[in-house]
């Protein structure tokens, strides 16, 4: 074959920045930067998987996030980046895998784009500081990136400069971002964002936080969320694990599922419920929750299985995939969903359906036996998923009819009138059903002549 010319397939820098930052939310970028710090710390702590009951001790690791409407900063003491890593790997677009296999163990970063994408999405003025090693061997440097200037660069050499810099207070990284993008400005300026981010970190790093990780958001410490399931009496949550072999690699899968709180008494769509928001399936990859409270086909709901219904509120399931080969995990690039084409994930889904089905059946039976159910539920206690005993299946009471038959009464009234009645009853925050119940009891006492 005679080659007559070469077709140019080089990407432009601007194109890269644009494409890279397209499909990710600002909060997920921040989590990506946290992942970076966590991975770095994890390497320093040895190669140990992170499960519900065991994992590396993160208690010496500190990640500080600070931001306002004009700037963002994340600082860690995770050991920093060696000059070699900075020169050859950390800033390449896409990971150069072969050379770096041992670095990947039990990490959450997999595509080699998280750091760059996160920084580009947040702002146009980027300053990265790193101190690696201790004492006389410590090496410190800075990587300043003026994005607007860099994007305009014409050469095919996409290098960033690495400058000399003073040492950080402890080995670690400090990333400062200024000249925020419009989206970052409006997101970080939102008065609810600090609590939103805190909640996300509390949830998505609940395992790391439980195992000691320290994270602060604008100087306030993030307390990890402790998921709890009912156990005792006739209730027992499922908690088991198995090992999946794929090629030469292995993935440890841990699964826990059960009953977090009672299902709602009404299915009124105008009564939004925080409990419903928290219910559903959670998926974690190497400890990081990548899908939370899922109620869609991405976990089990719908298709050949019942779709989500508010009646199922109270169900909680979590499945954790851990592997020293990150590629085997069902991660997506944004870490805000699961890769449903992943082999381990496809194999795990039937195992997720069994406890879900048990819960669906229970809530169906419960509808007609609320009093009996509440009595049994009151005998169980809420137990943290970090201290459960092993159980191969989820146990729930079988509900048989006791006592008189019940019925439910539903009606709609103007919201403002409901609030006014609640206020007149002494508590403006009474739930609608309680207002209705008291109105019923009041009328009943007035009008019904009970022998």
């Amino acid at each position: 074959v005679v080659e007559i010319a070469r077709a140019n397939a080089n990407a432009s820098r601007a194109f890269f920045v644009r494409m890279l930052t397209r499909d990710i939310a600002v909060e997920d970028c921040i989590l990506d930067l946290i992942d970076n710090s966590v991975d770095s710390a994890w390497r320093g702590l040895g190669k140990k998987p992170l499960g519900l009951q065991s994992g590396p001790d993160f208690s010496q690791v500190k990640i500080e996030i600070d931001f306002d409407e004009t700037k963002f900063s994340i600082k860690d003491n995770s050991g920093g980046m060696s000059l070699d890593v900075a020169k050859n790997y950390a800033f390449t677009f896409g990971r150069i895998d072969e050379d770096r296999e041992d670095e990947a163990e039990f990490s959450i970063g997999v595509y080699g784009i998280g750091l760059k994408r996160a920084m580009f999405k947040l702002g146009r003025g980027i300053d990265i500081f790193s101190t690696h090693g201790n004492g006389a061997d410590a090496i410190s440097f800075a990587v300043p990136i003026n994005v607007d200037k860099w994007v305009k660069g014409k050469s095919n050499n996409w290098d960033f400069p690495i400058d000399e810099a003073p040492a950080l207070s402890s080995p670690g990284m400090h990333i400062k971002i200024s000249k925020l993008t419009e989206l970052a400005k409006s997101t970080l300026g939102d008065t609810d964002f600090e609590t939103l981010l805190t909640d996300m970190i509390a949830r998505d790093y609940s395992l790391h936080l439980f195992h000691g990780l320290n994270v602060t958001v604008n100087k306030k410490r993030v307390e990890g969320r402790i998921f709890k399931l009912l156990s005792g009496g006739e209730f027992e949550p499922l908690n088991e694990y198995y090992v999946e072999k794929i090629g030469n690699g292995t993935v440890t899968v841990e699964i826990a599922a059960g009953y977090a709180f009672p299902p709602p008494e009404t299915n009124d769509p105008t009564e939004k419920s925080e409990r419903e928001e928290r219910s559903g399936w959670y998926v974690a990859c190497n400890g990081r929750i990548v899908m939370a409270a899922d109620k869609s086909i991405l976990s089990v709901w719908g298709d050949d299985f019942p779709g989500w219904h508010p009646q199922y509120t109270g169900f909680f399931g979590i499945i954790l995939f851990s592997s020293d080969e990150t590629e085997l995990l069902p991660l997506t690039t944004t870490k805000r969903s699961v890769d449903t084409s992943s082999i381990v994930y496809r194999r795990a889904r039937p195992k997720m359906k069994t406890p879900t089905r048990a819960w669906i059946d229970y809530t169906n039976a419960r509808k007609n036996e609320v009093v009996a159910a509440e009595k049994r539920e009151s005998l169980a206690t809420q137990t943290s998923i970090f201290s459960m005993s092993h159980s191969a299946k989820v146990a729930l009471p079988s509900l048989k009819r006791t006592g008189p038959r019940e019925t439910s009464i539903q009606f709609r009234v103007e919201m403002e009138r409901a609030k006014k009645l609640a206020r007149a009853l002494g508590d403006v925050t009474l739930a609608n059903r309680e207002v209705g119940k008291r109105a019923f009891d009041y009328t009943y006492d007035e009008l019904v002549d009970d022998e």
Binding site: T191, D192, M415, E416, D427, V428, T429
Partner: protein, 317 residues
């Protein structure tokens, strides 16, 4: 049946409300120096008194106005009491009729000064209406809302009030609230700030081309603790100028101490005004020298707002 407020309160006899209104119109007059209000329309709840409508015409020279009135008798009386020919009275609930009005061709590119001057506590429905109003605010528009911030309307104790505010504004916005902040008299300021944050967040989240600039937060009290919150939506080219004006020290739209104006006779007002302005604080002694007596906090309030203090007279015939 809910009694409309115009049957309960004579609008003209509330001195703190009058002072608050005067502060708002001072601010609007100053905004008018920047914003393009040639075709601007004033929309609000004129009731049967139309006090703010009269000011909108006198002070701002606006000539397009719509007043919304839900109650049938109130509507008929409002039609009867219209102060100017161009004031149109529309019957209905504001959240129902305003979207229709805004959708009309004649309002398509019109800056609006919309004052949702409620007498009630803030409700889910009002919050929804405010969200709508932020999204719909055209270039150079102003949005004002007044609500009742009386503590007992939000619960009989701090716990209930914290829960109720979380219901209204969301847990994220209210989580860090302290018990002190939901007690009278701080509650009015707390609710004012929650409303303002909510308005700002709506503007940010919807990526408005004319982002919101907070301009007014005025707690005041006649009988009930009230708060007025207001913001402006300048066109992109007027953003900077507007911001500079509102951030200047002479901008009076942000009032920290609730306005609690004493009820004074016109004779007392005249005598006190004759002693002002004064570099020193008026004392009880100085008032006694003028021939009568007042509590210290009443004096303080009068001295702070004396330029705006209204004089009322009852005509006995």
């Amino acid at each position: 049946m809910i009694r409309p407020s115009f049957t309960a309160v004579n609008y003209s006899l509330r001195p703190s409300k009058t002072i608050q209104r005067s502060i708002v119109f001072d601010g609007l007059r100053r905004l008018q120096e920047i914003l393009n209000w040639d075709r601007a329309a004033y929309l609000g709840f004129g009731s049967i008194w139309f006090t703010d409508f009269i000011l909108a015409h006198r002070v701002l020279g606006l000539g397009r106005m719509i007043s919304v009135e839900e109650n049938l008798i109130g509507y008929r009386r409002a039609c009867f009491n219209r102060p100017y020919k161009f004031v149109q009275v529309v019957r209905g609930r504001s959240s129902d009729v305003l979207p229709d009005i805004f959708a009309q061709a004649r309002f398509r590119n019109t800056p609006t000064i919309l004052w949702l001057d409620y007498d009630s506590e803030i409700t889910e429905a009002i919050i929804e209406e405010l969200r709508w109003a932020v999204v719909e605010a055209k270039d150079d528009s102003v949005l004002l809302v007044t609500i009742d911030a009386t503590d007992k309307l939000y619960g009989i104790n701090t716990k209930q009030r914290l829960a109720r505010l979380a219901e209204l504004f969301g847990d994220r916005a209210t989580r860090s609230l302290q018990r002190e902040e939901v007690k009278d008299p701080q509650l009015a300021e707390t609710i004012g700030s929650l409303v303002m944050s909510m308005l700002k967040n709506v503007s940010r989240r919807t990526a408005k081309s004319n982002p919101i600039i907070p301009a007014f937060q005025i707690p005041y009290r006649d009988k009930a603790a009230m708060v007025t919150v207001g913001a402006v939506f300048p066109s992109p080219e007027l953003q900077r100028k507007t911001l500079t004006k509102i951030q200047s020290p002479s901008w009076g739209g942000f009032v920290t101490e609730p306005i609690v104006a004493p009820h004074l006779t016109s004779k007392e007002v005249a005598v006190l005004q004759g002693a002002l302005p004064s570099r020193e604080e008026l004392t009880r002694r100085s008032v006694q020298e003028l021939g009568f007596d007042l509590e210290v906090d009443q004096l303080r309030a009068f001295q702070e707002h004396y330029r705006r203090y209204p004089t009322f007279a009852q005509v006995l015939s």
